[in-house]
């Protein structure tokens, strides 16, 4: 470089003709979402071609219903992953949400109108517990939430005395007022010509709310910043601790809500429900483009990931090639999505260099 005294303020860098000028993040996201939407459409088409008679609008609606609890939990997990942490406990929280509601309402006779907010409140407390241990005691979130996963499952087993609950058939001695039962089942009642459960509406509403929170508010902006560079965020005096705790709190509350909504729809709850959701929810979030190293993730991505998984699940159940195929697909899709991502990034970097 010569030290010739060029005082002209013309750009030093020559403009590159390719993509780098048009907001790489947007482009990446577009590519990612495009691929995901394409996969969703392809899977749907394939299923339809393989078995045209069994696939109709009602199957589509059942896919939406089936994805809703996974989707709601993936919203919360997205927040936690964006801020650079991990939550393994939401599946157990889903179970505790449903079970604590069942115990308070059916066993202890607390009216549903109070029991429901209380159950969500338990979710908030669990999130506070997770977040506090992670931020104040600096225990890695993987370990904290692995611990809470077991703790919450233990509490579920304990308070339910390992029994199942159904508000329509309460245990002897308890009685559920009809009004309360109607309110509870009404939360996920179906409506319309092709019956669609209100649970789908809850899911969409929550997705809009969390989407707004993550992508359109200062909270989300800072969440992204903290996840992208926690040390810089600390040095810039961003409220790192508070925001991390809030992410855990929202995640646990959403998990409790998902458990309660499924309980309302299915009308029974067992001590061990929710645990098996842990990994599918992670898969949905990862397929949706979130990065486990933090600072990256979208609500639309997580929702699409959940949709793709539910579609595969329902479709394969109808095609019934055997239970193994579903698991194999879940594995392939998760690794494949991330591998594709990395490959595309590498190609782009090589081109930019």
């Amino acid at each position: 470089m010569t030290s010739a005294d060029s005082r002209d303020p013309a750009p030093v860098e020559t403009s590159r003709p390719s993509l780098s000028s048009t907001g790489q993040a947007t482009f990446d996201l577009g590519l990612r979402m495009g691929g995901l939407v394409l996969a969703i459409v392809l899977v749907a088409l394939l299923m339809f071609l393989l078995k045209p008679k069994s696939f109709n609008i009602d199957v589509g609606i059942s896919v939406l219903r089936a994805m809703s609890s996974v989707a709601i939990m993936s919203l919360g997990l997205t927040l936690v992953i964006v801020v650079g942490e991990i939550d393994l406990s939401f599946g157990a929280m889903y179970g505790l949400g449903a079970n604590s509601l069942a115990v308070m309402w059916i066993l202890l006779g607390i009216p549903i109108y109070a029991a429901l907010p209380l159950a969500i409140g338990i979710g908030a407390l669990v999130g506070l517990f997770n977040g506090a241990l992670v931020t104040w005691l600096r225990i890695p979130s993987f370990i904290v939430t692995l611990g809470t996963y077991n703790l919450l499952y233990g509490v579920s087993l304990w308070i339910t005395k390992t029994s199942t609950f159904n508000p329509v058939y309460p245990p002897p001695g308890s009685e559920i007022p009809t009004a309360q039962l109607d309110f509870f089942t009404g939360l996920t009642a179906s409506f319309g010509a092709h019956p669609i459960s209100l649970e789908v509406v809850w899911m969409l509403g929550l997705a809009l709310a969390i989407g707004f929170l993550l992508h359109r508010t200062l909270f989300g902006f800072r969440l992204m910043a903290i996840g992208g560079n926690p040390v810089a965020a600390q040095l810039a005096r961003l409220p790192v601790t508070r925001y991390k705790i809030l992410a855990f709190v929202i995640c646990s509350m959403l998990a409790a809500a998902a458990g309660i909504l499924d309980f309302s729809f299915i009308q029974t709850t067992q001590p061990n429900i929710g645990l098996s959701f842990t990994f599918p929810v992670f898969a949905a979030v990862i397929i949706g483009g979130a990065s486990l190293s933090g600072g990256k993730g979208t609500v639309i991505g997580a929702m699409s990931g959940a949709l793709l998984l539910a579609e595969l699940q329902q479709g394969l159940a109808l095609l019934s090639p055997g239970p193994h195929v579903q698991q194999l697909f879940l594995g392939f899709v998760t690794i494949g999505a991330v591998a594709l991502d990395l490959a595309l990034t590498n190609i782009r970097k090589r081109r930019a260099a």
Partner: protein
């Protein structure tokens, strides 16, 4: 000297990173049995040279010869040992295992220490720590283990890269004794450091690197601290000097005043005043306490004493200051665009309104304003931050801090790794900023930076602050360099006298 065949010869080394030329045809002979010092300002190509000799990088062009034969350190890494400030070892293994790892031999069991290795460990006085986990040893012992490990594998080239910045005086004396032993044993020893005193004392010759080439080799009578100091800044006089008469004296009270300011380890009893309109430099090598002192003004170190910023104390004082760390890795967000990076320190009401909703139009407008005001060259503010050049990234880092309208800006090495054009612009921006009755305090390791950007400077040695230097009193940068090196030397001698009564 055997026709110059013995030792390492570097011929015409070139290396570039993108548009930046790190080495521009560097020639250097390193003889066996001597300690060769390497000095150079930041960005001169010093660390690139170290990486090439250590085998971590390959030159784009040029050749390396070892005893007259072509040599590729990247393939022949066993011959080279690098002693860093941070030992590159295995903290979870014992000292003995650290010596062994990588040369376990053909055993299938847990490897055992051979007699040759035991002898090496004894020679370095670390045999009594053999079974201690490395993480439990002092830094000095860890460095010894690192050297012993290299000796055990019969390394021939030893690169000491700022080895003693975290050591006590006694520990670094011992380290240098080992260094001289290695040289006396016929090995090739390089000492890379910012500490001119160490170069003067321990190197037989000192090569000064500027702009990717060896510009001078000092030896014999020419080898003095002042001589090195002058060589480091020679020919760069006022290249980017943007100082005006403004800022020197605004009269009036001070914006920052610090009294009895002490840290548990890094510094003690500091008193410092800075006025509005002033750029004050804290000059010091790594480990002198200067960096910690700067960070303490941002409230990042726990200190005792009193600090006042614009008449405020405590939290409110801290909110009037903004801190920009030395590496952009600690201030920029790689997942964010230029705009987001510029605005990330802002909150409500600047960029968010009711319900924390972001004001997106306002953000775009603010970001565009900031790119203009801070002369950031980007195609668009929605561009990813990593696609900017280093200089422009640094401007974003500083703009990010200035966006929250602090009265006191705290900078660490503000133009490290920045091209000359951006450097000039950054100094101009700082000047504009202080002329609006604000203050900049910056930590510098380079005299040139002090000369070009600062109004006043204090030298920090062993955690103490020197008397002030008014930069304008020095007619050229060499004079300033001589003065600073003299002050460092005196402070060190005084301190040494105090510590060794």
């Amino acid at each position: 000297m055997n026709g110059g065949l013995e030792g390492v010869r570097l011929r015409g080394l070139h290396k570039r990173y993108g548009a930046t030329v790190a080495l521009a045809g560097l020639d250097l002979d390193i003889r066996q049995g001597e300690v060769l010092g390497i000095a150079g300002p930041n960005g001169a190509g010093k660390s690139t040279l170290v990486r090439i000799i250590a085998g971590e990088e390959r030159p784009d062009d040029g050749e390396l010869l070892f005893n007259g034969h072509p040599w590729t350190p990247a393939a022949d890494w066993r011959r080279v040992a690098v002693v860093h400030q941070e030992p590159q070892l295995f903290p979870n293994l014992t000292v003995a295992e650290n010596i062994l790892v990588g040369r376990e031999g053909t055993t299938n069991g847990w490897p055992k220490l051979g007699s040759a290795d035991a002898k090496v460990m004894k020679a370095f006085g670390i045999d009594r720590f053999a079974d201690k986990p490395l993480a439990d040893c002092t830094l000095a012992t860890q460095q010894r283990a690192e050297i012993a490990r290299a000796v055990a594998r019969d390394a021939q080239v030893f690169l000491f890269d700022e080895p003693n910045s975290a050591l006590t005086d006694e520990e670094s004396d011992e380290l240098f004794r080992e260094m001289h032993n290695l040289a006396a044993g016929g090995r090739i020893v390089l000492l890379v450091t910012h500490r001119l005193g160490d170069l003067f004392e321990h190197a037989r010759r000192v090569a000064v690197i500027r702009d990717g080439r060896v510009r001078a080799i000092l030896e014999g009578d020419a080898l003095t601290e002042d001589g090195i100091a002058e060589q480091l800044v020679v020919g760069r006089d006022g290249e980017t000097n943007v100082k005006t008469s403004a800022g020197i004296d605004h009269g009036g009270g001070s914006l920052v005043s610090v009294n009895d300011w002490s840290h548990t380890a890094a510094f003690h009893d500091i008193a410092l005043d800075a006025k509005p309109g002033e750029i004050v430099a804290l000059v010091g090598v790594e480990g002198s306490g200067a960096r910690e002192l700067l960070r303490s003004f941002a409230g990042l170190e726990s200190c005792s004493g009193a600090i006042k910023i614009a008449g405020e104390t405590g939290d409110r004082a801290q909110r009037l200051s903004a801190y920009v760390p030395a590496t952009r890795m600690l201030s920029l967000y790689s997942n964010f665009s230029v705009a987001e990076n510029l605005l990330v320190r802002l909150g409500s009401p600047e960029i968010a309104g009711v319900g924390m909703a972001l004001k997106r139009k306002r953000m775009r407008q603010l970001a565009n304003e900031a790119t203009r005001r801070f002369l950031i060259r980007a195609h668009s503010v929605s561009q990813g931050i990593r696609s900017l050049s280093g200089g422009n990234q640094q401007k974003v880092a500083i703009a990010q801090a200035l966006n929250c309208a602090p009265r006191l800006l705290l900078l660490e090495e503000p133009t490290r790794g920045v091209d000359i054009h951006s450097k000039r612009e950054i100094y101009r921006l700082l000047r504009d900023y202080v002329s609006a009755d604000n203050t900049v305090i910056m930590f510098c390791t380079e005299v040139l930076e002090v000369y070009e950007a600062a109004d006043r400077a204090h030298v920090v040695v062993d955690g103490g602050l020197s008397r002030q230097i008014v930069v304008g009193d020095y007619p050229h940068v060499e004079a300033l360099a001589t003065e600073i090196s003299r002050m460092e030397r005196h402070a060190r001698d005084d301190g040494g006298a105090r510590r060794r009564p």
